[in-house]
């Protein structure tokens, strides 16, 4: 992992203003995502994971951002927090793509899957409808859909949650990003589908050779898939762990607590005796 980083975040802070009071939800976090690495950002809810992820392409709504987000593209390094709106729009999708937590809300209910995919493709590439459709269908097929054509013509409400999340992944890969930000992509889905989604992400990542920033509250899931884990708490990154021979070895007591936070460690309920 000695390669140069594709994304280098330095002292990134995200703050919101409420009644003239400044509230900092992400406090001077710094982290790096190496080429083709799978990096996990782990923390409990409210720790600032999602705000960190959104800030990477200035998607934070109404927030003030400071620090720098250095993106190493084909044409050198640039600070995403300082690029022009047009450059930013070009970066979104082609450099960094997102998969969000709630697949049910992430698709426009009045457009078919196909329309949304074609629209996304045409927003970034000058091409005709036929080519956009071909690429979309190929992308859906890669997302393990056995009948891409049927999905292409479907409206979001005709698909299940897991299918929608696969559509979102297909859509995220459609524009050929270099970094995929997956913000708790499996939290809204049940456990069997979670596995499918994780495997799909892994397969597509290998095929497209891209880096992934995976956000989750489940540190054990993270330790299965990640090359590197950053642990966040109260808006700060408190620990960085790289995968070693023995997997991930936590040093901070908070991280150790997270590892122990699974349900199997809850004492089983004592039986209530009925006379």
């Amino acid at each position: 992992m000695g390669e140069e980083s594709i994304l280098k975040v330095q002292n990134l802070s995200v703050s919101f203003f409420t009644n003239k009071e400044k509230k900092e939800v992400v406090r001077e976090v710094s982290f790096e995502i190496p080429h083709r690495a799978w990096v996990c950002l782990v923390g409990e809810s409210g720790s600032g994971k999602t705000q960190t992820a959104l800030a990477l392409t200035r998607l934070s709504n109404g927030a003030e951002l400071s620090g720098s987000v250095l993106w190493r593209g084909d044409d050198g390094e640039k600070d995403i927090l300082k690029v022009s709106p047009d450059e930013l729009r070009a970066l979104r999708g082609t450099a960094i793509s997102y998969v969000f937590q709630d697949p049910n809300g992430s698709l426009n209910p009045v457009m078919t899957i196909g329309e949304q995919m074609v629209e996304t493709y045409l927003a970034h590439f000058k091409s005709g409808f036929a080519e956009a459709q071909k690429t979309s269908l190929a992308s859906l097929a890669e997302a393990h859909f056995s009948e891409p054509r049927r999905v292409f013509g479907s409206f979001p409400h005709e698909l299940s949650g897991g299918m929608k999340q696969r559509v979102m992944i297909a859509m995220a890969f459609l524009t050929g990003p270099k970094l995929l930000v997956a913000d708790e992509p499996t939290t809204a889905l049940d456990v069997t589908i979670e596995r499918g989604i994780i495997e799909l992400l892994r397969d597509m990542r290998t095929e497209w050779e891209l880096a992934c920033l995976f956000i989750t509250h489940n540190i054990r899931l993270a330790s299965h898939v990640a090359d590197r884990i950053y642990v966040m708490r109260q808006g700060r990154i408190i620990e960085r762990m790289d995968r070693g021979a023995a997997g991930f070895v936590p040093k901070e007591s908070y991280t150790k607590t997270l590892f122990k936070a699974g349900l199997e460690n809850v004492a089983p309920q004592t039986r209530i005796e009925v006379e």
Binding site: R92, N108, A123, H124
Partner: protein
């Protein structure tokens, strides 16, 4: 409900074909037969110049409905555009548009129309745009409210994250999602526009004779009410039934959407 739909569909078809088919028949005068009562020859009777009322009603429908539909379409375009801008961008633009809405709502609509028509002259086009300019505010408020809540939804964030610009998000994602309530308000606005058009023509500042419209048929009828009830009755019924049908249709669309209007 079914009757309302059938009635509207019937008039839609009649209004579309009547300029081609009934133009001659509707202006054919026959003084000898002036003010004859409804009969087999003249189904709805004739007016004071002996023109067949049935054909005049048909010809009038295309003018009345055409002017109203044009005005509502224009009002929808203005309202949806400004409302979406206000809701989506917020800030200064929203303040300006909100201010404009409040100002336009302050004018007594009917008298504003009277004034403008008096100055500009009562042509069909003037009628269309004046009606539109005085009725876009409701649409704008509706669209603004819809956009305000829709712009926070995940799919807008997702579209943004995939590189969609503001205009693309507005036209492709926000306004289509506001189409349901918009449709309801369009139908109700249409019934309002028909009434205003009829009122203006009745007062003689809307559609000008000899062009027939439901409003100036009413005006003709008023003059001869004592001698011939049918000249007033049938155009009145046409306006009444059409407006009633539109309101029923709008109400049922609104119930389908589970929103109150």
């Amino acid at each position: 409900m079914r009757f309302a739909k059938a009635w509207l569909l019937l008039w839609l078809v009649l209004a579309a074909v009547s300029p081609l088919v009934f133009k001659e028949l509707s202006s054919e005068m026959n003084i000898a037969q002036a003010l004859s009562a409804p009969s087999m020859k003249h189904w709805l009777g004739t007016d004071s110049l002996g023109r067949d009322l049935f054909f005049r009603l048909l010809a009038g429908s295309s003018v009345s409905l055409g002017v109203s539909a044009g005005a509502v379409t224009l009002a929808l375009l203005i309202g949806a555009w400004l409302g979406a801008m206000a809701g989506y961008f917020g800030g200064f633009r929203e303040k300006m548009i909100q201010g404009a809405i409040d100002i336009f709502l302050c004018f007594p609509t009917f008298f504003l129309i009277l004034g403008v028509i008096a100055v500009m002259g009562p042509s069909l086009w003037n009628l269309v745009w004046v009606l539109a300019v005085t009725s876009w505010m409701g649409v704008a408020r509706l669209v603004r409210a819809e956009v305000l809540s829709l712009k926070e939804s995940e799919f807008v964030l997702a579209a943004k994250a995939l590189g969609a610009g503001d205009w693309r998000i507005l036209w492709k994602h926000l306004i289509p999602n506001a189409a349901g309530p918009l449709r309801v308000s369009a139908v109700l606005a249409l019934s309002g526009a028909i009434l205003v058009e009829a009122g203006l023509s009745f007062l003689g500042i809307g559609v000008q004779p000899p062009t027939p419209s439901w409003g100036n048929l009413l005006m003709d009828g008023k003059a001869v009410l004592g001698a011939a009830w049918w000249v007033l009755f049938f155009p009145g019924m046409a306006v009444f039934m059409t407006v009633l049908s539109l309101n029923i249709l709008g109400g049922s669309l609104a119930r389908g959407r589970r929103i109150d209007t």
